[in-house]
Amino acid sequence: MNFPARRSWRHCAVLLALGLMGSVGHTQETFKIGIVSFLSGQAAESFGIPAVNGAKVLIEAFNKGQAPAPYNKPGIGGLPIEAMYVDEAGGATKQVQELRNLYEREKVDVVVGYVGSGDCLAVAPVAEELKKFLILYDCGTPRIFEDNSFRYVFRTAAHATMDNVALARYLKARKVPVKTFNLINQDYAWGQDSRKDFILSMANLYPEAKPSVDQLPKFGAGQYGTEISALMSKPADLTHSSLWGGDLQAFILQAGPRGLFKKSQVVLSAGDHVLPGLGQKMPDGTILGARGAYGLMAPPSPLNTWWWDTYSKAYNVYPVQAPYRMAQALMGLKLAAEKAMAQNNGKKPSTEMLAASLRGSEWMSPAGKIRMALSNGQQAIQDAAIGRTKWSEQKKMVMLEDIQRFDAECVNPPLNVKSEDWLKSGFAGAKCK
């Protein structure tokens, strides 16, 4: 009576062992990407989570082979993409450790990440030292590639100088009269750089215009009553701001009822991402940029329509700048990796091959053409766009009108010229249509 039972137990053990062997034997090679962005803290809502959402929906489409050509090959060159998501919160020291963990412990092939300029400046030399592939998809400081030389580190989005040059060019093109302008920017690298870029750009295009009130509230201030009083006490023709996220939302909610937007033409260098949330609370006529031709200002194309629809369907909100920048990074990576794989007989490429493939390349993204044109082909340039807000009663959303797009060469410095030098030279070498 015991014999059949023992035999069935042995059968089970053999089957289990075979099953395990089979599963091990069939473990498919993947293309592993570490994605780092803010999942908590103040930058999560505006930048981190929308970007990660964008990565999730795009990677799913890539793996299913559902993205439009030339992104329609499943995964990356047929290898399924395996993504790991890491929180960028916690400061630069933590990020350096997390980056090492991703490469050395998790064995990721590529890291795509970083919103904070401080984080980018900290992790880039580490990836370079480890000879590991790193794409910086978002952070804005020009210093990363202007003050350093990298082989394995890339930035697939334009740096922040473009934003304020485009704003100033837009004002000039639309003949907005400016004799004085006020400024309110956060008191850290991003705000200080934006402020400087805008002042230098205005000096080129509006030499007679003078900066007046110059506010530098701390990051995450939340309460802007006093700053608004200061701005209103000397109202200027124009009020410039590079505030973003919760700070920008709070500023608009507090400055709107006090009449700042009526007394002065407000221009926001990176304001597009607050439009879906603020809705009707966003004052009409505000001039704003998106740090690229993103969202409502993206050039019409089948690729953009697909991206807009895919993201909107997944998250019930249209994509703003952060998911666009993530998409252009992953699209550039996919094409570069597939090109390198083709040269490597279909096998996963080495870091060196991958870097050679992305360096100096160009590709179409939902926001138009991305060109790795600066800093020996490691730094991208792209077109910029600026528009003016207008609430649409029919669509029940804020729309952008009077949109003007600027060619990448018109708003980015030329090769081997530092941003600040370019601004001080009066945009020497800029090619504008």
Partner: protein, 298 residues
């Protein structure tokens, strides 16, 4: 003259908001001897609860002014729910231990509450700006202020007055004072010290939540709102003297006025102005403006 008036109004408005939050912080320290870092999280929770409550009131088509009551009720509910859980369920196990350990415990609580908030409300921002427009605009000199901002001045005065009256003119206030001076002697006189601790903690939490609730209409409520407020609140209570209500009021006024003057006269020194005042006070009065020097118990 106009500039002085603007600085005065701006400083007072900022100080009012700060006082409501800092009052809770100083009260909890005064009674429980806890430097409560999680106070910032209670502020954020108050803002989120208020956002949900106002949204609910709007959905039910209640009159616009009811949103103010909804915000108040949100803060009360939060204090009633979370204070017993936190104080009885966590903090009481650490009473009598090193103050540094309590700071670490409340910091851990702060981190947990950050994630809990995100789990409940998600990462998307909440807007409840409807109450912000309830009182229209008021012109003071050449400036147009939102009436709601000035409501906070009234609210701060009311809250400060009520807490002062409660501590100085009621039987419960005398009991609290006795516990502050010596929990051991108070207990030997038949006072339920644990109950005093819980009530004091609940009032402190309510004040943080109230600050958050009445700030919600002016901001977008989203992850991260808890961080800034706790740092500046600590500056206020350090200037005024930890555990002192008068100190919190004067500290908030000093910080509000210093900040308003800096923003109007030297914007680059905005942050510096607050902490230079704090440093000056600590140089001459290390225990804060309203804290008496106390002999250490051995």
């Amino acid at each position: 003259m106009q500039l002085a008036l603007t600085i005065l109004v701006d400083g007072l408005s900022y100080a009012s908001w700060l006082f409501i939050v800092a009052l809770g912080l100083t009260l909890v320290f005064g009674v429980l001897k806890i430097l409560n870092i999680a106070h910032g999280s209670f502020y954020a929770l108050g803002a989120y609860m208020a956002a949900s409550a106002v949204a609910l009131a709007t959905d039910w088509n209640l009159p616009p002014y009811f949103s103010l009551l909804a915000m108040l009720l949100a803060a009360v509910m939060l204090a009633a729910l979370v204070a017993p859980l936190t104080e009885r369920g966590l903090l009481r196990f650490f009473y009598g231990r090193d103050e540094v350990l309590l700071v670490l415990v409340t910091y851990a609580l702060f981190l947990m509450l950050e994630d809990i908030t995100k789990l409940i409300w998600g990462a998307n921002p909440y807007y409840v700006s409807e109450p912000y427009g309830l009182f229209g605009n008021i012109d003071i000199g050449s400036q147009s202020y939102v009436g709601y901002d000035l409501l906070l001045v009234v609210l701060a005065g009311l809250v400060g007055g009520l807490v002062w009256w409660g501590l100085n003119r009621t039987r419960f206030g005398k009991i609290v004072t006795a516990v502050i001076h010596s929990p051991e002697i108070a207990a030997s006189m038949g006072i339920k010290v644990s109950r005093v601790y819980m009530v004091a903690f609940a009032i402190g939490l309510f004040l943080a939540a109230l600050g958050g609730a009445f700030t919600a209409p002016m901001i977008s409520v989203q992850p991260g709102v808890s961080v800034g407020v706790i740092i500046i609140s600590f500056a206020v209570v350090i200037i005024g003297g930890l555990g002192s209500i008068e100190g919190a009021a004067i500290g908030a006024l000093i910080v509000g006025m210093a900040r308003a003057m800096a923003v109007h006269l030297m914007p680059v020194a905005e942050l510096f102005s607050v902490y230079v005042v704090m440093a000056l006070v600590l140089m001459f009065r290390p225990e804060g403006l309203f804290q008496r020097i106390q002999a250490r118990k051995i």
